[in-house]
Symmetry: C2
Subunit: 145 residues, 2 copies
Amino acid sequence: MPSEIPFSIGDLAKATGTKVETIRWYERVGVLAAPERTSGNYRAYGAEHLERLSFVRRARDLGFSLDQVRDLLQLADDRNQPCDAVDRVAREHLEEVERKIADLEALRHELRDLIGQCRHGTVAECRIVQALSPQLGPAGTSQEA
Amino acid sequence: MPSEIPFSIGDLAKATGTKVETIRWYERVGVLAAPERTSGNYRAYGAEHLERLSFVRRARDLGFSLDQVRDLLQLADDRNQPCDAVDRVAREHLEEVERKIADLEALRHELRDLIGQCRHGTVAECRIVQALSPQLGPAGTSQEA
DNA sequence: ATGGACCCTGTGGCCGCTACAGGGTCAAGG
DNA sequence: CCTTGACCCTGTAGCGGCCACAGGGTCCAT
């Protein structure tokens, strides 16, 4: 069979919703294999690159780091291995997402408290400013009249 | 009154739980005023710097960006202004935190789905890998036996 | 005088891109 | 045949918010 018709980086970008620069970046950092080049030194991609890049994008959308994506790609290539390792990467990522959610929820709580205490007076009596300021004792700063 | 005894960057770092390099960085980007220098060109801080840096750290802990911190500091200095602007910065930040939480929760949902579908077989039949791979039609890749 | 703990500036690295600058290539239209 | 304009190439610099050097200077106790 004849090899499929290759396509340009711009086409690949459009097909995957990726910026051209991002594709080149993926190549540089090794999550996307360097394709053949045309006589004019243009990158010439095939279906395998489209597939690969789609995988990368989907994984990135799910918040996996590029390191994790590299791992997942490598694991996904070993078609006959058990998929425990894949599962582990996903679980680790999930745990991190859950940690971040917990952190942000704590933050949200603090911010809501802060904002809820605002009495809309002057800055001098603003609870938000007070909450941000350090507690240096009840006397205030020394230079004030 | 005699001016207070100044202290070194290392002392300030310890007092606020900040790395020395971070303090110098804050000075460079203008969230902490450049202090006086000793005859040996060492930075010599006073209580106002301690106060200022504590404010910055607290705000950073609450997830405010350095740009926001700069704004808050400036607003906090105008002691007689109404604190509406402060309130606005805080509210905007809260909204962003809430957006991030929502995003991460959607992510968590997807990841849980993914992981829940894993049947612990081989990579070839792994649902996680399948979910990451693009849907290119039901026939599978062309080279497979 | 010397050792060690601190301080100084300046630079480069981290992540994951994004945005240039300054060129080359290619197909269509005049 | 030549120009125009859309695309492509490499390389570098920038974002935020630091952190970690290297290669020096300073200070204080012994």
